[in-house]
Amino acid sequence: MSRLRARWAATMLAPAPPVRLAVVRILTGLFALWYICKYDRWLSEFEGLSARVFAPIGLTSHLHAPLPDATVMALGIATTVAGVLFTLGLLWRLSGPAFALLLLYTMTYRNSWSMVFHHENMLVLHVLILGFLPAAGVLAIDPWLRRRWPRLGWMGATPALDPQPRWQIGWGLKLLQIGATVPYVVAGVAKVNGKAGWAWALGDNLRDQVLMNGIYYELLMGGAKAITAVSIHWTWAWVLLAAGTLVLEFGAPLALLGGRWAVGVVVGLIGLHWGILWIMGIHFDYQLFGVAFACFVPWERLARLSRRSPRPHPAGTGSHLRES
């Protein structure tokens, strides 16, 4: 038992350098900003649609009607501004939690119009975790500000962090990794808990889901993807796709062990999302571009690698020749 506990502690509390968490902060912040800015009216998209299709969930369950337009606009602006500060690592003690909570609220509000966008869950969960971690001690504006104006601490600026690995950073990254993998287990359980049970792995359910998706595209969006009609003739492919999906979903937490496990699981999950895009046209952008799995990457090693293998410098070659 004590050996298991020691193994658990060694896995969960393995030290990591602050630069790793800082890179994840920057990538996640940039993605969140891109995501909310790519829609012209990301929060007011449903403005004027009336309360008929408003179905508040989660944090917005207290609402009985849609928010006034001015409030929605103010929330949208505040979230974007907090997102910029979050990404820059500016006034982190305020901007980190502020962006985490604002994004949680505004995204929940966006999901309160009769449809939950499951591709937004992980992004919000990650920002929520990141916002309360010491992720702006390096590669951020705060340390520079604190060096110049030490008194700015009261405004929420964090001091520079020692670049040496520390368990707090490693643990923070593990929380992010849990947020990136455990939801897949929930999705896997939902599949085998349904009427099909473990027979879900035979692929019929998955194929029918793809066809259903196709008919909705036909009747609502002007046409289904051409692959929908082709895929109905696949037989063994559906078994492979369904069984592979279950293996990946239930096996996702193995990535927490790191090393080859993490590489295998992350590559598999990114492949799963590209497959969903190809067959069903559903964009899980956060996972597709790999940002969701940035917490698995030892960024400091990549930086070291790029420093170790420079291209031969013409001036260097020249001086060597001169010496000889």
Binding site: R52, I178, A190
Partner: protein, 163 residues
């Protein structure tokens, strides 16, 4: 403790009692997509436009609801539940089409908001066919166009299927 709390919070929606008032929540979800077995005949809510010659045209969801496909289908599903909401949607589309002076939509005389039942395998194997049957949520006349009998809410039309 925090680590365990996070894991338990993410896993919590596996239990039906912890899925929120509406059966799913955000950002903690039980990811119900792909889990439900599909029925033999799939029900879909959609809007069609009919010309005086009896031609049927599917109306793109951008004319009556907002958002991408999944959001559009959920909104239509919700609007179909109440006659007043279905009527509002139908009349909104009819009003919009009454202003068209060119193209197919200028020939449309009626708008139907319906729930169709489709055999998905047949639809994608034998080529796009119409629904097996269609139930009217609401139907309305396009203003200032030829007048025909407008079906009533709840009327059912059968296509190649025994009633």
């Amino acid at each position: 403790m925090l680590t365990l709390g996070l894991v338990l919070a993410i896993l919590a929606p596996i239990h039906p009692a912890l899925r929120g008032q509406r059966g799913d929540s955000f950002p903690l979800s039980w990811y119900p997509m792909f889990s439900r077995p599909r029925p033999a005949l799939e029900s879909v809510d959609y809007v069609i436009a009919l010309t005086a010659a009896g031609e049927r045209h599917i109306v793109h969801s951008k004319h009556h609801v907002r958002g991408a496909m999944n959001q559009a289908r959920r909104q239509l599903n919700r609007l179909a539940r109440r006659g007043q909401h279905a009527q509002d949607l139908c009349e909104q589309v009819a009003q919009r089409f009454s202003q068209r002076r060119r193209g197919t939509m200028a020939e449309v005389v009626q708008i139907w908001f319906v729930r169709g039942k489709f055999d998905l395998h047949q639809y994608f194997t034998d080529g796009p066919e119409g629904p097996k049957r269609e139930k009217i949520h609401w139907a309305c006349q396009v203003p200032d166009r030829a007048v025909f009998r407008v079906p009533q809410r709840g009327e059912i039309y059968h296509f190649g299927e025994a009633p």
